[in-house]
Amino acid sequence: MADQSKIGMEFPLCSIVVEKNKIAEFAAAIAQQEDTACIKPLYREKQAAENAGYVNIPVPPTFSGCFVHWTGGGLLSITQALHADMSKLLHSEEEYEYFSPVCAGDVITRKIKVVDMYERGKKGKKGWHAQVTVLETELINQKGELVIRARTTFVEK
């Protein structure tokens, strides 16, 4: 069971370069395409991105998880630090606020904080009682601008 004394805990900052080929790979995955040649030109050609008003190839709207999974030991290191049991965790909510586009070549620093932890429902009632954990991830680019704020809610049954 997650430890409520962890509210307010911040995880070490991690930075990662947004790579063009990673964007194409992610875009292919969510479009269920077998080949990155089949994805939208916006996600594979700089010229198409420029024509659409971006400085470089943009990331899809749900790409932000990559900044958590591919840095600092990923989600496992976070759940371990919170003493949460990964096999009992369910992802229950996800929210993004977008402030500025994230594009290939950007260097993104992720700042993860535990913003809430609480118990939901009554103990002993199967399937209803759960520990809720809310993480907030701020993504900051190489210019120091907050580009995306994500809120992720997990429940541990």
Partner: protein, 149 residues
Amino acid sequence: MLIRYDTLQIGDAMPIYTSAPITRTHLVRYAGASGDFNPLHHDDSFAKTIGMNNVIAHGMLIMGIAGEAITAWIDNKYLRKFSVHFLSMTEPVNLNDYENTKDRATIIVSGRISKKYEENGEKRIHCDIVAQDALGSRKLSGFFIAALP
């Protein structure tokens, strides 16, 4: 495909988006792309240790598909917020029993504009969305906010 604020009305539907039936290969591809290697999403033997018959899709793959539905209609750069609650799990299609399992693995995304308003000097729409499988089971519900020209 430029969508203008003035041409949209409250109650307007976004174009319906239908995914391909999700296969285990799609799950592996999403795991590799996202970095989420929770074995619950690719290893049936692990799923059985926690009492489940099959692997299940990443909730974030379903949200990613919903994002594809949105950005097929409205360009990424106009998005200001995208928020979902996950409602139920999605099992992939079994290729040895395709006809009986394809509907549970097919995601249909729909949405409807519920508000139009000005905020931060921008003209914004609030669109409620839902993703369900072809059997009608809801996978996620939520909304997005976009600022339009």
